[in-house]
């Protein structure tokens, strides 16, 4: 009888461990998916920049420095490896874009250019997507990190090598950078 009870308890514990494990796996996958969303949007921003610079060149020949800085920052952001470095590179790219748009205020013809307007809208949209993807990713990372650290899930997370994930931080000002004005 006691044997049966013990067996039952062991089976129940086993089922519980399986449940927690599956739950943690699902959360880890959501985090990964969240990261790939950010990745897609960052790549999209990298793709838009050459067009932007090309269009701007026609109007602002005197601002070669600004344009070159943007190109360089983009190349850096593409080449860099590792989350922390990547964050820095992306933040730097955002900074250069900000100065590009600030300078472009002095060129009314550029601002009225159809191609430029379209690019501006695309870039605004991409910036928003990056920040939303980051928001989603960070929310999910937070949920996952809390789960693997809280008792009793941490007893299972430890042995099965569920490690805490890093947040993706971008300068908070970023969202306001290339806001389209209508």
């Amino acid at each position: 009888m006691v044997l049966y009870i013990l067996l039952g308890v062991v089976v129940l514990i086993g089922l519980y461990i399986v449940g927690v494990f599956n739950n943690l796996v699902a959360m880890r996958e959501t985090v990964k998916n969240g990261w790939s969303q950010i990745d897609v949007q960052l790549k999209r921003r990298h793709d838009l920049i050459p067009n932007l610079v090309e269009t701007a060149k026609g109007y602002m020949g005197h601002e070669k420095d600004t344009l070159e800085r943007v190109i360089k920052a983009r190349q850096q952001a593409i080449d860099v490896k590792g989350l922390k470095d990547r964050q820095e590179a992306e933040n730097f790219l955002t900074g250069t874009l900000r100065s590009l748009f600030a300078v472009s205020e002095n060129y009314p013809q550029l601002k009225a250019d159809q191609q430029m307007l379209r690019l501006h809208e695309e870039l605004t949209s991409t910036e928003n997507k990056i920040s939303f993807a980051r928001q989603y990713y960070n929310d999910e990372v937070n949920r996952y990190n809390v789960a693997i650290k809280s008792f009793p899930d941490n007893l299972i997370a430890g042995p099965f090598a569920f490690t805490a994930q890093e947040f993706f931080e971008i300068a908070p000002l970023e969202k306001e950078v290339p806001q389209a004005k209508f």
Partner: protein, 532 residues
């Protein structure tokens, strides 16, 4: 934790099974009534024709069970029928169009939808446009697809961040699953009404309407110098009919009973669709887009500008962000208002959002006085200047000039059928003294184009209001400062009269009436048609 999907799934299935249960109950009731009438056909006939006492027959349990079984089968078939291609049919009903990416504004809307999808973690949402200058937004969803739509008015009058907030609100409805429930409920009600109206039309075609027959009989009798009481007339018709067509009479009773129930059912469904879900969606929208101020501003604009002809919205008020039909309960709270309205008071929603944004109502008008100017080239090809109403306008400040009650831009004097009226240069609404309307209706200089005719048809088809409700709808959002400067309080929103349900704003003190764009033309068209 963003959203617990299992919790949402559970909630969704509970609300959907509630709808299914009420549908089954409706069919059960119908079958039972038909069954009852068939079984009592003989006694009923005897009672009516020979005045014998009526004998009631009770039913066995097995017949109840049989009725329940048949009801369930019919309900399942009906259910499958309405849930197939649900979104497509609803969109057709709303007259929604695909996004035209060549139009900059619409391309922007598409981008915004993609952004919000990213914020939700990648659910798929499509965008649609309703070609109406009313300002509103909606969402519909079924198992296969989810759609968020904006009216053209909203697309042009809201700023980018406001549209983002509104789309966030609609996406919240979709994520939480109540969009699906609401779409299904609306379609269900619609399909029942449709079936019944076909039957009713068929019956009206073959039978004289009892009311008409009654009237005919009475006037005929009066012509002959007889005085007939109502009861005599009615009884004679009944006995007339019963001799020839008792089954038809029964059919009429059943169908009228069903119509009554379906009408009540609409009220019941409104009780199901609680006001709470709008608050919840506002909250989730803020979590998605982190911009409560923009959502508050958007709600403010939408609730101020919804009073435009918007026939497509009539059947589906529940899918919209702000109720497109103005109702006296809209801004009220309490048990009754909570149960019978689909949307919570907009003022309350705005207050909650402003609290989240840590700003107060005084921020609102200021944020909104920014003029929403649009460049000509932002307009798509279908938009003509007369269908386009810019919000606010850059007018020179002039304290003595009359100001538009709707958008506060300057009103210009204008001759309309030899009557002096004031037209808003921005939103094309018209302000005039109420007693001068008669003069306008009497004169015939103006002709009306197909668009006005179509709108007049729509108003005409709505038919008169029932006698009981009052014409007044409630205080309107419009303010008008008249010449004396005495009556600067809010105008009153009311139907033009019982027969023409055009909503107009009226100042009760100085007698000025404010008619939105096209409303004067439509009323004039209706009056001139009636006068022949």
């Amino acid at each position: 934790m963003p959203y617990s999907f299992t919790q949402i799934e559970k909630q969704k299935s509970v609300s959907i099974s509630g709808v299914f249960a009420s549908l089954s109950f409706l069919y059960f009731f119908t079958i039972w009534v038909i069954y009852f009438l068939c079984a009592h056909y003989q006694p009923l006939y005897q009672t009516i024709v020979y005045n014998r006492p009526f004998q009631f027959q009770s039913f066995s349990l097995s017949s109840h069970l049989l009725a329940l079984f048949i009801a369930l089968v019919i309900a399942v078939v009906h259910w499958l029928f309405i849930s197939d291609g649900l979104v497509q049919r609803t969109l057709k009903q709303l007259g929604a169009l695909d996004i035209d990416p060549s139009d900059e504004r619409q391309a922007m809307f598409k981008n915004i939808i993609e952004e919000v999808c990213v914020a939700t973690g990648g659910i798929g949402i499509r965008g649609k446009i309703i070609p109406s200058m009313a300002v509103n937004a909606f969402s519909v969803a079924d198992d296969h697809e989810a759609v968020v739509g904006l009216t053209k008015g909203a697309l042009y009058k809201l700023t980018r961040s406001q549209i983002e907030a509104v789309v966030g609100h609609e996406a919240a409805h979709i994520v939480s699953g109540d969009s699906q429930g609401v779409t299904l409920t609306a379609a269900l009600y619609e399909s029942l009404e449709g079936i019944l109206s076909i039957q009713k039309n068929f019956l009206i075609g073959i039978l004289p309407e009892p009311d008409d027959a009654r009237r005919m009989n009475r006037t005929g009798a009066r012509d002959l110098g007889w005085e007939m009481s109502d009861d005599d007339g009615f009884n004679s018709i009944i006995s007339h009919l019963t001799v020839r067509a008792l089954p038809l009479l029964i059919l009429i009773i059943v169908i009228n009973g069903l119509l009554f129930i379906v009408n009540r059912l609409a009220l019941l469904m409104r009780m199901f669709i609680s006001r709470e879900r709008e608050y919840r969606a506002d909250a989730v929208a803020v979590r998605l887009t982190r911009d409560p101020l923009s959502l508050a501003q958007a709600l403010y604009i939408i609730s101020n500008r919804r009073k435009t002809f918007f026939n497509q919205a009539d059947c589906l008020p529940t899918v919209f962000i702000v109720n497109p039909q103005v109702s006296a309960l809209d801004e009220k709270s309490g048990q009754v208002a909570d149960s019978f309205s689909t949307h919570p008071p907009t003022t309350e929603r705005i207050r909650v959002l402003l609290d989240m944004a840590r700003s107060s109502e005084s921020d609102l008008p200021e944020a909104l006085t920014k003029s929403y100017h649009l460049e000509k080239d932002l307009l798509s090809k279908q938009d003509k200047p007369e269908t386009f109403i810019p919000w606010g306008a850059n007018t020179p400040s002039d304290d003595h000039a009359k100001r538009c009650p709707a958008c506060s831009s300057r009103l210009a004097e204008e001759d309309y059928e030899d009557v002096q009226v004031y037209r808003c240069q921005s939103c094309q609404g018209i302000l005039l003294k109420e007693d001068e309307l008669g003069m306008i209706f009497a004169r015939r200089k103006k002709t009306f184009d197909a668009r006005i005719q179509a709108m007049a048809d729509a108003v005409d088809q709505e038919g008169p209001l029932p006698l009981s409700p009052v014409i007044a709808i409630g205080p309107s959002a419009r303010k008008f400062k008249c010449d004396q400067g005495e009556c600067c309080q809010k105008m009153q929103l009311r139907f033009f009269n019982r027969f023409y349900r055009v909503q107009v704003d009226k100042c009760l003190q100085c007698g000025y009436v404010w008619l939105d764009q096209d409303e004067l033309e439509v009323l004039q068209c209706l009056y001139e048609r009636r006068a022949g």
